[in-house]
């Protein structure tokens, strides 16, 4: 069993990247995601989005890579988003309490809308969050 990772640049938001994971994120494949996150530009991204529509399996090794990513992004005030998290994957994240609700978006459109909103707010110099 394998993992395929497709990295794309968000055309509307400079500095934001999306990684589409297809397959299994486990003991055998987690190194591939680590490697993808170390690529030029991606490692300094303003935001990373994981599209998990085709992720069929995740184990604790996979969770660790995602949690470390969240930690790194938070440390430099970058954005972390997940979209299309499938129920069996959501269950593992939930048991580990590893995915904050503010990082979960039902669709790419929803996640994009959130980035738009943040950008508008940054332009106004408003750092407060909406209630």
């Amino acid at each position: 069993m394998t993992l395929k990772i497709e990295v794309t640049r968000n055309s509307k938001q400079p500095g934001f990247y999306e990684l589409r994971l297809d397959g299994r994120l486990d003991t055998e494949t987690h190194g591939q995601l680590e490697k993808a996150l170390k690529q030029t530009d991606v490692k300094d991204a303003k935001g990373i989005r994981l599209d998990l529509a085709k992720l069929t399996y995740i184990s604790s090794m996979g969770l660790r890579v995602v949690m470390r990513l969240m930690k790194d992004l938070k440390a430099r005030s970058a954005v972390f988003q997940t979209v299309n998290v499938q129920p069996q994957i959501k269950k593992v994240f939930d048991i580990a309490a590893a995915l904050p609700t503010e990082a979960v978006f039902a669709s790419v459109e929803e996640a994009d809308a959130y980035l738009d909103l943040m950008q508008k707010r940054a332009l106004r110099g408003d750092t407060k969050r909406d209630e």
């Binding site: 003991t27 055998e28 184990s59 090794m61 949690m67 048991i95 580990a96």
Partner: protein, 156 residues
């Protein structure tokens, strides 16, 4: 619930040619994890085990074997990990034996899940997942062997 029944049913797992069970010896190097995974998936498919149960079993196999490979031995020598799987009407019973240092996963403290994930120490998650995905876990230390038996509810 039906704990004893399962334990009795499981005792028959070693019978040769039992189509509801299989057993194999893994090395402590992760090499044989993929093929064991495939054999387990084949057994579960043959018994029309649900996707949910199948996911839980695959996860238990990976987490426990990875843990043994990483932490059970410090001598750098090859060691055998014995793995057995058996489908009973109520459970998929997964059993792991190793000759590594004494390790009772049931005695491990649960990770502090109240802290935000990015502030938490990264680790201890595998055992936590196993305990939550299993209906029951039993640990035994006999004659220098760790034996862990994991009962995953069998929802067909």
């Amino acid at each position: 619930m039906s704990g004893r029944d399962d334990a009795d049913a499981d005792a028959g797992a070693e019978q040769a040619g039992d189509p509801a069970a299989f057993e194999r010896i893994l090395g402590n190097d992760l090499e044989s994890l993929a093929s064991t995974n495939a054999a387990l998936a084949e057994l579960l498919a043959r018994h029309a085990v649900s996707a949910e149960t199948s996911y839980a079993c695959t996860l238990v196999l990976e987490e426990i074997v990875t843990n043994i490979v990483k932490y059970a031995h410090a001598d750098g020598l090859p060691h055998a990990i014995r793995f057995g799987a058996r489908c009973t009407p109520g459970h998929v019973v997964l059993r792991f034996s190793d000759d590594g240092r004494e390790f009772n996963p049931l005695a491990e403290p649960a990770p502090d899940l109240n802290r935000p994930p990015e502030e938490r120490a990264v680790g201890g998650l595998g055992i936590h997942l196993v305990r939550r995905f299993a209906e029951r876990v039993e640990y035994e230390r006999v004659c220098g062997q760790n034996t862990l038996t994991v009962f995953v509810a069998n929802r067909t």
